[in-house]
């Protein structure tokens, strides 16, 4: 019997082709938005989790509170200093530690000046390796910075592009940073993140002289000994730094984070962004549902006579109710199927664009069956719920009133 009801409903839907398409469009937009946003959000989250996981969980990142990524932006900034680095190095459980500092400075080349990120890094091979792992910086051509290099820099991959300075910058070219000439000795691989690809690296000593930092560092990266619990090492460092900086417990003006913690922070930010986006997608789905309801009301009104006839020839309330619920359910399900297809397509397209622009492996879209079937079920339920009120109206129609309707 249900099969026949399906057939009846489908015939009705096909009969009102234009309106059915429009109704479906509403659902399709909502579902496509939900699917593409969830897939992309999940892909982004996976990518970030993956990047942090590649750092390894034996590293600690020590930074001043409030300015871990942009030292110097806060007005009354506290700083992590050179001497803090020495204390970290002396703490038991730490095998290696290095400082890292960044700022934004004018870069001149080909008589043009633009502002980009400049960072200072250690020239010690081990320390640089530790930093390289943390930053995902890998050398593409030339050489890395060595001890004794003074007016030498390494540059990101973006400088090979002519659009930055009208001319591509290569090995052996000279650029001007804060008025001083530097020779390019190395070019980094593309990372996919524009600020990193536009960064200029120089020996930390040179950096300190050039920017007159007085020993202030942006961040300390510490490697913990194999077998040591990074969390315990972190608490040892906390105690040592608190002593040297004369701080009471609980009043620390610095933070120590493990890669997992940093990943968790990113992930919670992404979660919020995703919830907001899903909320917006949800609104469009709600509008789609209201649209289905409107269509169903119109359909009930138009078929008043048919409903009256069906009741006259023996249809009971639940028959009519089922008939209309199936119809609105079909809108939900069909709209859902098309919407999922389009949503996956959009997500894959965005992924492709990301790969073309920033290189592979930054964003990998994840399409899960749970998401697909969950969305289809949800869409079907939205369709059915939207049909409840109109279907009830149809079911309650009195046969005489239905047959009399013109």
């Amino acid at each position: 019997m249900l099969k026949d009801f399906f057939k009846l409903s489908l015939q009705e839907i096909r009969h009102r082709r234009m309106r059915s398409y429009l109704t479906l469009t509403g659902i399709i937009i909502g579902i496509a938005a939900v699917v593409s946003l969830i897939s992309l959000g999940q892909g982004l989250q996976n990518a970030i989790a993956g990047q942090f996981a590649s750092l390894g969980n034996d590293k600690l990142f020590i930074s001043a509170k409030g300015n871990s990524f942009n030292p110097g932006l806060s007005i009354d900034a506290v700083w992590i200093m050179d001497k803090d680095l020495e204390i970290v190095r002396r703490t038991s459980g730490v095998t290696l530690a290095t400082g890292f500092v960044t700022t934004t400075a004018a870069i001149e080349y080909n008589d043009q000046a633009r502002y980009f990120m400049v960072y200072g890094e250690s020239t010690d091979p081990d320390e640089r390796a530790l930093l390289g792992e943390s930053n995902n910086y890998k050398l593409a051509s030339g050489r890395v910075l060595d001890k004794g290099d003074t007016h030498k820099v390494t540059i990101g991959s973006a400088y090979q592009d002519e659009t930055l300075f009208g001319k591509s910058i290569g090995l052996g070219n000279t650029i001007i940073v804060k008025g001083i000439q530097f020779k390019v000795v190395g070019i980094m691989e593309k990372t996919g993140s524009p600020p990193d690809d536009q960064a200029v690296g120089m020996p930390i000593d040179t950096y300190e002289e050039l920017f007159e930092t007085n020993g202030a560092l942006g961040m300390i990266v510490a490697q913990t000994q194999v077998g040591e619990d990074p969390v315990e090492v972190a608490s040892e460092i906390t105690t040592a730094l608190r002593h040297s900086r004369n701080l009471k417990e609980g009043n620390e003006d610095f933070t120590i984070q493990t890669p997992q913690e940093m990943a968790a922070i990113f992930s919670s930010i992404l979660d919020i962004v995703q919830i907001v986006l899903l909320g917006i997608a949800g609104i469009s789905l709600l509008v789609g549902g209201v649209n289905v309801m409107n269509t169903m009301y119109t359909s009930v009104l138009e078929r008043t006579r048919t409903i009256g006839l069906m009741k006259a020839v023996g249809a009971q309330k639940h028959h009519i109710l089922t008939l209309f619920l199936i119809e609105s359910g079909i809108y939900g399900l069909v709209g859902g199927i098309i919407g999922v297809g389009i949503g996956v397509g959009i997500a894959k397209l965005v992924e492709l664009v990301f790969i073309l622009v920033t290189g592979p492996s930054f964003l990998s879209v994840e399409i899960s069956w749970v998401l697909i079937f969950g969305t289809l079920l949800f869409s079907f339920v939205v369709g059915c719920i939207s049909g409840v009120a109109p279907a009830l109206r149809a079911a309650k129609l009195h046969p005489v009133d239905g047959l009399r309707y013109e």
Binding site: Q11, R305, L309, V313, G314, A315, V400
Partner: protein, 246 residues
């Protein structure tokens, strides 16, 4: 035909139907008492506004009276729920309407099969019945046509086939020829007579056409919401009746 051979099928006892329109009450039926016997061909005749359509709704179990009692084979129907009424209606009564009332999106055979859908009958059986009845009304070559592709007379034949699909004991025809040309109308009317004479259906004809009504065994004249008088035409029809022994 003697009184003893008559078995009451539907009985109306002092049935009133009152419509309330704002402050005003309108008594459309004012105490109708009427018995329809099994196997009878009854015409309900009256001008428009006499209450005959409202009476048809009561006889067809499409509506409940404001006051009074309706019984079907002795069973009181006024106490039934809406769904129970629908069930009884679907099994017992076949409707033929002036407007045909076919569903435009369904084919002829699907329209005929429609009432069986609500009786939970298996699909194969439903298709067999639908095809058989359409063949019976001479539309075997129009099975898969939609109503829009059929003439008025053909549509009404589809409607007749539909009215028979649950094998009801009562055929209720409301001005069945009212929307047809005279030739088609005559064909449709012949079918009604055939249903009564050969298929032993109880046929109730609602009409304002006195000439048509005179084909019935009894005519109930409606006037101002009441049955004004009943005219027996037993002698005329008895000659056409089937032999008892059959």
């Amino acid at each position: 035909m003697t009184a003893q051979s008559l078995v009451p099928l539907i009985q109306l006892h002092d049935v009133w139907k009152t419509y309330v329109m704002g402050e005003e009450k309108l008594d459309v039926l004012r105490g109708v008492t009427l018995t329809i016997n099994k196997g009878e061909f009854v015409a309900i005749l009256g001008p428009s506004g006499s209450g005959k359509s409202t009476l048809m709704n009561q006889l067809g179990l499409l509506d409940v009276p404001t006051k009074g009692k309706i019984t079907l084979e002795g069973r009181d129907l006024t106490t039934l729920s809406e769904n129970e009424m629908a069930l009884v209606r679907g099994k017992t009564i076949g409707f033929i309407f002036q407007q045909f009332n076919l569903i435009p999106t369904l084919t002829a055979v699907e329209n005929v099969m429609l009432p069986t859908l609500f009786q939970g009958i298996a699909e194969e059986e439903r298709v067999v019945r639908g095809r058989k009845l359409l063949t019976m009304v001479g539309l075997d070559h129009r099975m898969d046509h939609k109503p829009g592709q059929l003439s008025g007379g053909q549509q009404q034949r589809v409607a007749i086939a539909r009215s028979l699909v649950n094998d009801p004991s009562i055929i209720l025809a409301d001005e069945p020829t009212g929307n047809l040309d005279s030739i088609s109308g005559a064909q449709i009317f012949e079918m009604l007579i055939h249903l009564h004479r050969d298929e032993h259906k109880t046929v109730i004809l609602i009409t304002h056409d006195e000439e048509l009504a005179h084909h019935a065994q009894r005519i109930a004249y409606m006037k101002d919401g009441r049955v004004d008088r009943i005219e027996e035409k037993a002698t005329k029809n008895s000659s056409r009746k089937r032999p008892r022994a059959e």
